[in-house]
Amino acid sequence: MSTEADVDPGTAAARATAAILRDTLHGDARGVVVDSPPGAGKSTLVVRTALELAEAGRPLMVVAQTNAQVDDLVLRLAEKSPELPVGRLHSSDADPYDKALDDLPNVRKSAKAGDLAGLPVVISTAAKWAHVKVDEPWRHAIVDEAYQMRSDGLLAVAGLFERALFVGDPGQLDPFAIVGSEQWAGLSYDPSASAVTTLLAHNPDLPQHRLPVSWRLPASAARLVSDAFYPYTRFRSGTGHGDRHLSFAVPSDGSGPDRVIDEAAASGWGLLELPARHTPRTDPEAVRAVATVVRRLLDRGGAATSERSPEPAPLTADRVAVGTAHRDQAAAVRAALAELGVRDVTVDTANRLQGREFDVTVVLHPLSGRPDATAFHLETGRLCVLASRHRHACIVVCRAGVGDLLDDYPSTEPVQLGTLVKFPDGWEANHAVLAHLGEHRVAWKP
């Protein structure tokens, strides 16, 4: 058999998918785990598996983590197979689901699982499923974003199904608890660990698969993200270096923001570096720099060419996102953008950007301007999410001196006996990304 590198990306991905479907539909293991790097077609896989299971007449429940993810899956399922009856189990709050679901004739929505009994596919969040009681468990389940699900969340729903496909991205943010949970560190069922960690600790023989190709990340980014965050489970991009192109109708005015935009358009990465300084979290200068870059991105008439269509697509506000580490930073950027008259650009924290995709992202570096590097800011997943949301280019805004800061603050988290040490650690990943960004550095000049 040929190795992955020899075959073209499409074939490699198809092979992986075929193996996953074989294990899920015809295997005898109670669980199948699929690791999916950013943009590797996880949702496509979930939808395809759901359809095949439905076709085989096997009742299926799908567990996702947020209502937005659930609604997104329902819409994708309906798009692929409008005839398939799908149940959307929702909470009894006001506006529990996306109104777009009301236009789908074959999607039944209810707050009671009993109303949806007998439908081939029922989809809901883990939190809602946890309240469901059944006499007869579902024969199949798909657990989406399983690495972002906490072990105790899985404990609450695992009694509902006989067997399950667990899909997720191990490189993104780990689930967290708002209180200390050290007392259970090292236990195989540590309730604050990820669902997959617990699952594999108790069932080490489950088949594990990996999607080998990222269709989202451009060739310029796949290599770095793979090296920095997935050094032992590498992946590659589905497109080559020449397949995507970002151009701007308005030429650069020579300012820092314009030069970093051009650098990012050409190379996929740009680092806009502000002078070193210790700042509050909502660093006004950095926030303004982020807002200015976004403003210029939209003003300069960007056009994105990709394998999706031969015609260049205009770079509009909904194709641009800003990522930050903290919510107050996101709020500050939103306010700065509003001042510059920019609307409809998504501005959010890494946690909330998980699973989303844009053409260009502008990132306020989590360590920018900080006097210290805490475990929160060093968390591998945070940087990984921020650096892997884009199809064309990623521009990072940062104060100088982060490299020194990293050297001053090696990670000092206590090592807990019995826990799996995750590699790479955030410190190393941060250095790797920073080194690469250093090659695309532009100094701030208004």
Binding site: L154, L155, A158, A177, I178, V179, L187
Partner: protein, 530 residues
Amino acid sequence: MSLIATLSRLEAVTTGRAQPLATVRHRHLSERPLVFVPLTTAGEAGAPLGALVGTDRDAPRLLVVPQPRDRDLRFAFLAELADVVLPYVDSHADAVEAAERTETDPETGKRVKVEVELCADAPQIVVPSRAGVEFVRLLGRSMRFRRTAEQDPEAPHPAPPRVPLLGRWLTHYGERARVPGSSLLLALTEVLGRHWATGQSTLEDQHLGALLAWIDPPAGTSGAEAALRAELARDEQGQLLCPPAGPATDPAFDNKLLAPAIERYDRARTALAAAEDGLEADTRLGILTAAEREVRELVLSRTRPTWDAVWRGLDLLRELPEGAHVEERWTRDRWSFTGHRDRVLAGEPPQPRRDDAVTAANKLATREREQARLDAQEALDDPLVMAGRRLAGEAFAGEVTEVVMAYSEGKRPSPRPLVTVRTDDRPHLGERAKVYRSLGGKPQSAECVGVDTDDGLVVLRVLDKMGRGKEPEPGSVPEKGDRVCFTLFEHEQRGGAKLPDPEQTPWTHGGPPGEPVPEAADPLTQEDVL
């Protein structure tokens, strides 16, 4: 650290005095707490050196282990500790009030109300610092699996009768201390740190002497000077003037004073054992008694200042009025105490060494819920805490400038008045974000309809608590000119989903743990028989 806490700390630095972080007391303080000031031996985990313990600030009980590595002496210490702590615990176990609890009827599976006892008050243990809480936990762990001669006649070194029971209680208290907002076992530095911001780091705040120096410096000195003195000042023998609150002791004390004293005690004991006649034994017993008294004096000299500091700290806290929700949280502490009392009475085995999957998940869920509840209640009870949340964009206060009546669509229109609030705060409000205000102690919810940041105007649509009629009940809708405070966080926590019973642990978590087997006693180790 929140922005307001940072600002308070900066203010403490400039003024030289700790600044209040709260206007009310957010933890319950018992009328008669049991204060426990333990010391431990350097180099060996869980080898107590001594303690001051008791409920009377003028008459603490001094317990000392003159040779901390001697297991018999350690057991004697623990037995004495049990003689102080357990009667204190028992004195709360009998006064009960009738209460109701919903339980699942095992036959019908329905939720039914049952009459149960709830202890009218619960024992409260106060230790100087967080390390003291850890030490309570460690003592509990080291005792609860011991076997007494009665439980196991074969045990080579049986524990004194009440020691395992003390271990179970200390374990319960140590575990309860992990629940946010609980007050059964308090670390004084934590409670003081909740109510005052000092001009030093939170790490330095764990030094009780330094913390008190900032909060209440001696006349004529600044908090910073007094704190520095508390941390570093030494006498001519090189001993700290203010001994650390422990349980760890100062190395200079260990090396210069304690080690020689213990060695003298050891020598006297060996000499006594080697005495050849009664007269010689009498003399040597005298020497041994003197050597023991010397160790006792040393331990007293290092615990008494902390003992007094703890009571002083409690005095400072008592000056603050109790927060409105403190009583409610203390009731949950009383439930916790009553529950453990019942488990002990029912003859249940000690708490297992490790939680099973379901217990661990339930505990984590409870603590997360309590944390969220505590955060909300502290803000509702205390305008200063609320100010911090407002500064963080998680709440806003202001004046109602306009109320426009509106109604929901549908067959039976309900009132959905639009309320405009002018505020100087900058809440992180998104379109249709839910906000809550306290209306007679119950949360009333509203949704954000629009925000005008330039003029500081927020338009809200009130959603509930207006009665069933077409017109809202009087007083249920804010009126023009009212001062209102809305929060972006919920005031009450929903109960989480019910987890499976432990015997139904799913395959993903290792399956059912099987029949519970009684945990074996802790095996003897080399260290035990020194």
